[in-house]
């Protein structure tokens, strides 16, 4: 082991630094950790020094998300005002066949290079890799985090569908902040995670969003898919969502939970393709069935309010992909990415920005490799693939996105004159 272990003794005194990937999910999940006795800071530091540190301490050909996340952690340690002897860094480890499983080790290497190997690194994964004695995810915590993410997905979807149309600007975002704070305070009291409390909260959230005064006009509807970090993190995708909304679009970003279902689901596929133990496959199938119940609860709340486009259940979305990319593609975002494109088109978001770090290996297959097939199947699809990279200039990215938007706009106007 290269860097220090996060021990049980550290749990009380140390602050865990977690780079933010998606709002409001991470801010909600933070409270779950707090509830279980951890001190957590969700990192929001930006600015040129983040990527500078990343380039300095990480191999420059590694994926952009690794450079950003590691750069953000190191920048936070160096300049964030934390006590360097009292912080631990948290980084995700997917455990799949792509480079992302190595971020944990790259962060350790980076720390060693900047003489901070005494700072413990915690791997956040669901596969029991690289354990830390002071950091254990109990099933209870998992369940609570799951609920936090379901709330997060719901808030994100509602806000995205409301923001572009609101009469009084800022109401949707204010509502997100309000609920994030409220739910956080409930989580801190170990409440609001399950059952009827959750059902009531979800209903209230939907009702409040539905009550925001809006003026629905025909807008270009754009979906964002891609490598998970690039898709969600404004730090990674140069504030893509904000840019699109400035251009007068309504943006839909698929749910975060889809990715988790996909991860669990793949274990079952592996059993069919490569043999292996029944046990894992059975357990995951059972778990998924339980999780779908919560997903249904959130969907029903949205449906009931009557004002929103409700995302398809995961299992239906998965079905869309039949005969296209095989469910065996499980590295990175794998078949899920292709399915999400189809899902977005079905939901009325035929204009899609597909984001990936430059040189992303899985996306050669499941993103760029499938665009043609998706376009042939769904003629209204209008997809642009954008690569992100420490020095990929924004002006080029925006120009390509504008081309996609120009076509979208033409189609939108065509529809308006037809109707």
């Amino acid at each position: 082991m290269m860097s220090a272990l996060f021990t049980k003794a550290m749990k009380k005194e140390y602050t865990l630094l977690i780079p933010n990937m998606v709002h409001p999910h991470f801010n909600l999940a933070k409270e779950v950790f707090v509830n279980h006795g951890y001190t957590v800071a969700i990192l929001e530091n930006r600015g040129p020094n983040v990527i500078r540190e990343g380039l300095r301490y990480v191999h420059n050909d590694i994926c952009y998300p690794a450079q950003l996340v590691i750069g953000q952690l190191i920048d936070a340690v160096k300049n964030g005002g934390y006590d360097r002897d009292k912080v631990a860094l948290v980084i995700s480890q997917t455990g799949g066949g792509c480079r992302a499983s190595n971020y944990y080790f790259l962060l350790q290497k980076a720390l060693k290079k900047c003489n901070m190997a005494h700072i413990p690194v915690i791997s956040l994964n669901l596969k029991g890799m690289e354990k830390s004695p002071g950091f254990t995810i109990t099933p209870f915590m998992l369940l609570q985090t799951y609920s936090a993410f379901v709330y997060g997905d719901t808030l994100m979807a509602l806000a995205n569908q409301t923001r572009p149309y609101e009469v009084h600007q800022g109401q949707a975002d204010a509502l997100v902040e309000k609920w994030t704070a409220y739910l956080g305070s409930r989580f801190a009291k170990n409440r609001g995670y399950i059952g009827w409390a959750m059902k009531r909260n979800l209903a209230a959230i939907c009702a409040e969003f539905a009550a925001i005064e809006v003026k629905r006009t025909a807008k270009i509807k754009v979906g964002i898919v891609g490598e998970i970090y690039m898709k969600y993190a404004p730090l990674g995708n140069n504030d893509l969502q904000a840019f699109l909304e400035e251009q007068g679009c309504e943006v839909c970003v698929p749910s975060v939970m889809g990715f988790f279902y996909y991860g669990l689901d793949n274990a079952a596929t592996d059993r069919t393709y490569y043999g292996g133990r029944w046990g894992i496959s059975l357990v995951t199938r059972f778990t998924l069935r339980q999780l779908y119940k919560v997903e249904r609860m959130a969907r029903e709340a949205m449906l009931k309010s009557g004002s929103f486009t409700v995302p398809m259940p995961y299992t239906e979305m998965k079905g869309l992909n039949r005969d296209l990319i095989d469910y065996g593609v499980k590295m990175g975002e794998g078949w899920l990415l292709t399915a999400e494109m189809l899902d977005l088109i079905h939901m009325g978001y035929p204009n899609i920005v597909c984001t990936q770090p430059f040189g992303c290996l899985p996306n050669h297959i499941c993103a760029k490799g499938m665009i043609r097939a998706v376009t042939e199947r769904e003629s209204e699809a209008n997809i642009v693939a954008i690569d992100y990279d420490p020095s990929a200039p924004r002006v080029n990215q925006e120009n390509r996105i504008k081309l996609m938007l120009a076509i979208a706009n033409e189609r939108l106007e065509g529809q308006n004159t037809d109707s």
């Binding site: 050909d61 290079k113 593609v329 043609r372 076509i407």
Partner: protein, 974 residues
């Protein structure tokens, strides 16, 4: 109302005015040199005659128009979209538009299924690429056209980006290939790039229209496109102006007067929004101090007019410049010359020798030595006594300058070379990858583009107040970053300073991969023409936070090292001078011709240059069979495991079978698993047809169906292999997907990389013959890892098409596993043979560590035989990996192929005479993980780490330097 379209591209600006009936009443075209506002104002003013004081509608377009439209509050239309509007209006019967611009390439498909495509961020093959190539040939861009018309043959030039192509073009120039042939080859690479990058499986046919600058100005380029597309396209009137026309056609409600627009254009810019870094000098004083310190570092010069006796000539024929020095017996500098080689280094040296010898008759040039790209050219042309690899030349000079130097960095026109010195021996070598050449020619290209000489640019950079933070990436990216910075209000000085800093960062963080510059060394010498730029020097010292030594003759150090070598060799082992004298040069002749070698099926295109009828230089050869038969090894498999593996795999031939034919595309996973699958299917009674060996032509045949232009070359080749099988008439192709590889129990997991695992998915959905079902493509998921499960799985996959029993399948699979095992055992046994032979000959052993598919000659470009030529035995990683036991690595060791590479590295460090060279496919993201880890393993035990990045580039120039430097360093180590 008059409507005006203003198209502001990356290098030029176009304006078109249409009257109410859509007729063009005015059009103009101008380069803008990034002075966007000024140029726009000056181009709009003449329109006053057309419109008078009437209000007009103006729409902006083009990559640089976006920012301006915001500033002026005028409508903007995306340029590809504008082209579409213009084409639909004026040329409605068009099927496909190909438009090349300064930095963009676009294809538009019309008809019921409209599609528009633009090149991604990593793609050359555009106007500025042609400009870059033209300046390399030292001709005007338009001359490329007339040159190409005279061409008689074609070379293969990498088309991905300018930097790649440059490394193909430069050696051709140095070898004396005809400029006309190179010009044609450049145009072909542009066409190939466009087709490969943008067609993405959609056939380009019907009425094709060519638009944009390069296709307008270069009729030859249009002809090349016609040839590649097998069609006849047209270039309409106003082909430069379609974007501007489309913009003018774009409906806009807003009207404005010209005067207003011009006034807005001339309004001073807003606040600076680009990211800037600290200026190079805080004060004038600081600069004076810096300049004074460096002025002291210079070679001792001596007036040749007063010198009598022996002198030594050193010539460094670099990629863009030729440097020559003459030194006296004490190492004093008598004479030097530094000039552009303009593609003709021979003439330069010839003039130099003649001038020197006729002017200074009291000096005899005792010996001469050459180095650099043109090392062999100059040596054979003038019959020099010696030549050395350039890294060695730089070390010799640096050490003469600063005894005990422990780090040297040389940034030349096209290369960055850095070496660490320990105990008087080159300990580690870093050379830039073909993809990150942020070097001298890079700075020069930018200063020219902005209308300054490199010297002016350097001076300006020193005065910059807010240098732009441009990061450290390749030229293609940098172009756009510069554009963005300008848009954001950076001054030219800020940009030049930013570029100088980016060159330094590129060298430190991309080439040397240093994290703590303080660890480089304590005695650092910087050399190479680029360091004569004070801004670069200063940026380097700032980044290092240390003082370094820059000889005033920084650009001459390679040549100086050569001269020193000539002097010491002359003293060590005196021999007759052979270098041509001024007298002999009077009758000097040289003539080149090209022909295809008949030595083997490779049929290398050889350039043979003959000097004075008796000295011959052959280049373009991949082996020495013809060139140097004496050292050619006839049975390479005894010393080269790559050759052995190739032979072994080639022995799997098709046998007639009752179940019909089944095709296997021979790349990626099949490179290792061929014995398994071939045996399995043959046992089942299939006639197994393997696609032919990879070749450039095979690649071209499949390139139009590649959807992602940044995927690795082996994957791209797969499209060609499928195409070859289809053309062969195979109706069933078997190529399974597989998340998991063989489990050798040596790592944390046994994954394939995503590309190896799932590439069949890409083929299935992008290759027309597989999509439309005319060829059956079996690409289901399976893994060889579980011997028990595989037959069942395979049966399930094949049973819809064939009637096979489980017993048959089990038997066939066990035969397959046996064949695979036999192959792996054979590799290991042959590994022992190679090691024994190498030790008998006293040769160093190089583990050429890559993936199984790197033994494909089209992928490795013959690097294995090159090593053999240089007297090194070649092993593959899988020949030695089994010697080491499972160990925890400092990274997640989860890929089967990579685990072998770590294990091979751990074997190498235990052998005195073994070394490792890692092959990395361009675009292989996983190697960002493996290369650092392998470097660590080797360094930990004091071994030199060498990596070679390979792609579709066929030129081995940079590879040769790397290998020769490694071998020279090993020799020094003794």
């Amino acid at each position: 109302m008059i409507t005006i379209g203003l198209d502001i591209g990356s290098t030029t600006m176009k304006v078109v005015a249409l009257d109410g009936n859509g007729r063009i009443v005015h059009h103009a075209y101008q380069r803008h040199y990034s002075q966007i506002n000024e140029t726009a104002a000056s181009m709009l003013k003449p329109l006053g005659d057309v419109v008078g004081g009437e209000p007009v509608a103006i729409t902006l377009s083009g990559s640089a128009g976006m920012g301006l439209s915001q500033k002026l509050n005028l409508p903007f239309i995306q340029e590809v979209y504008a082209t579409r509007i213009a084409v639909t209006t004026f040329l409605p019967s068009t099927d496909v538009v190909i438009e090349l611009g300064g930095e963009d390439a676009k294809i538009l498909f019309f008809g019921s299924n409209m599609e528009v495509r633009m090149n991604g961020t990593c793609a050359g093959g555009t106007g500025s690429f042609i400009d870059q190539m033209a300046s390399l040939l030292n001709v005007d861009s338009s001359a490329i056209d007339s040159l190409a018309k005279k061409a008689t043959q074609r070379y293969s030039i990498a088309s991905r980006c300018g930097v790649f192509a440059k490394s193909d073009v430069q050696p051709l120039l140095n070898q004396g290939a005809a400029k006309s042939d190179i010009a044609l080859s450049i145009l072909h690479s542009v066409a190939n790039q466009t087709v490969a990058g943008l067609a993405q499986g959609r056939p380009i046919k019907g009425q094709v229209v060519y638009l944009g600058g390069p296709l307008t100005f270069l009729p030859s380029l249009r002809r090349v496109f016609d040839e590649v597309l097998e069609t006849e396209g047209t270039c309409p009137d106003h082909s430069l102006y379609f974007v501007a026309i489309g913009a003018a056609l774009y409906p806009s409600q807003r009207s404005i007067t010209l005067g207003d627009v011009v006034a807005r254009l001339m309004r001073p810019g807003g606040a600076k929004t680009f990211t800037s870094i600290a200026p190079l000098f805080a004060s004038r004083q600081e600069y004076e101090h810096f300049a004074a310190r460096h002025r002291r570092e210079a070679l001792i010069e001596c007036d040749p007019a007063s010198y009598v006796g022996e002198a030594f000539l050193g010539v460094d024929a670099g990629s863009t410049t030729v440097k020559a020095v003459v030194i006296g017996g004490e190492g004093e500098l008598l004479y030097s010359q530094y000039g552009d080689n303009n593609g003709n280094a021979v003439e330069f040296v010839s003039n130099l020798i003649t001038t020197f010898e006729t002017t200074y008759r009291d000096i005899t040039l005792a010996k001469a030595c050459s180095t650099g790209y043109g090392e062999l050219l100059i040596k054979s042309a003038f019959d020099f006594e010696y030549s050395i690899v350039e890294t060695m030349a730089h070390y010799l000079s640096a050490n003469a300058f600063l005894e005990g130097v422990d780090f040297i960095i040389d940034i030349g026109g096209q290369d960055i070379k850095c070496f660490k010195i320990a105990d008087g021996v080159i300990d580690d070598i870093f050379l830039n990858e073909a993809c990150s050449s942020g070097c001298g020619s890079f700075l020069q290209t930018f200063s020219n583009a902005l209308g300054y000489t490199p010297e002016e640019a350097a001076r300006l950079a020193l005065t910059a107040q807010n240098p732009v933070d441009l990061g450290s990436r390749c030229t293609v990216f940098m172009n756009s970053s510069v554009k963005q910075a300008q848009k954001d209000g950076a001054t030219v000085a800020d940009i030049f300073a930013g570029l100088a800093i980016s060159v330094v960062k590129n060298a430190l963080y991309k080439v040397i991969r240093s994290t703590d510059p303080a660890l480089l060394g304590s005695k650092i010498v910087v050399q190479g023409g680029t360091f004569l730029n004070d801004a670069v020097l200063r940026a380097f010292e700032m980044e290092l936070n240390a003082d370094v030594v820059r000889p005033a003759q920084a650009g001459l150090m390679g040549a100086y090292g050569c001269a020193l070598h000539a002097r010491s060799e002359h003293r060590r082992a005196p021999r007759q001078r052979t270098t041509l004298t001024a007298e002999e040069l009077k009758s000097f002749t040289h003539r080149s011709r090209t022909l295809h070698c008949k030595g083997c099926t490779n049929a290398c295109l050889l350039t043979i240059t003959t000097f004075d009828h008796d000295r011959r230089l052959v280049s373009g050869n991949k082996c020495d069979r013809i060139v140097d038969p004496a050292s050619f090894i006839n049975d390479p498999q005894t010393l080269n495991l790559y050759a052995f593996k190739q032979q072994y795999l080639a022995s799997f031939k098709a046998n007639k079978g009752k179940r019909g034919r089944i095709g296997l595309p021979f790349q990626l996973s099949f490179y290792e698993q061929l014995p398994f699958w071939h045996t399995l299917f043959s046992t089942l009674g299939f006639e197994v047809v393997t696609s032919p060996p990879s070749s450039w032509d095979l690649y071209l045949s499949g390139q139009s169906t590649i959807p992602s232009d940044t995927v690795c070359y082996p994957a791209k080749l797969m499209h060609g292999h499928i195409e070859a099988l289809v053309r062969e008439g195979i109706d069933t192709i078997f190529y399974p997907c597989s998340s998991y590889n063989i489990d050798e129990k040596k790592g944390d997991n046994h994954f394939n990389c995503p590309v190896v695992a799932y590439y069949p998915e890409v083929l299935k959905h992008n290759v027309p013959a597989l999509k439309d079902g005319s060829v059956r493509f079996i690409s289901d998921y399976l893994s060889l890892a579980s011997k028990g499960f595989l037959p069942k799985r395979l049966l399930k996959i094949l049973s819809p098409y064939y009637d096979i029993t489980l017993a048959e399948m089990r038997f066939a699979a066990s035969e397959g596993y046996e064949a695979l095992e036999a192959y792996q055992q054979a590799i290991r046994r042959q590994g022992e043979v190679v090691i024994a032979n190498a030790r008998m000959r006293g040769w160093p052993i190089i583990v050429l560590s890559g993936r199984p598919y790197h033994i494909d000659g089209e992928v490795n470009h013959g690097i294995d035989s090159l090593l053999l030529q240089y007297g090194a035995a070649v092993l593959s990683e899988d020949a030695v990996a089994h010697h080491t036991v499972k160990t925890k690595q400092q990274v997640l060791n989860q890929w089967t192929y990579h685990a072998r590479m770590y294990d091979a590295a751990r074997w190498v460090v235990l052998q005195e005479d073994a070394h490792l060279v890692q092959l990395i496919s361009f675009g292989c993201g996983l190697d960002a993980v493996t290369s650092d880890e392998i470097r660590d393993i080797l360094h930990h035990r004091g071994k030199i780490y060498t990596q070679i990045k390979i792609d579709e580039i066929a030129n081995l120039g940079a590879v040769k330097i790397r290998i020769r430097s490694l071998l020279a360093a090993l020799k020094e180590e003794g």
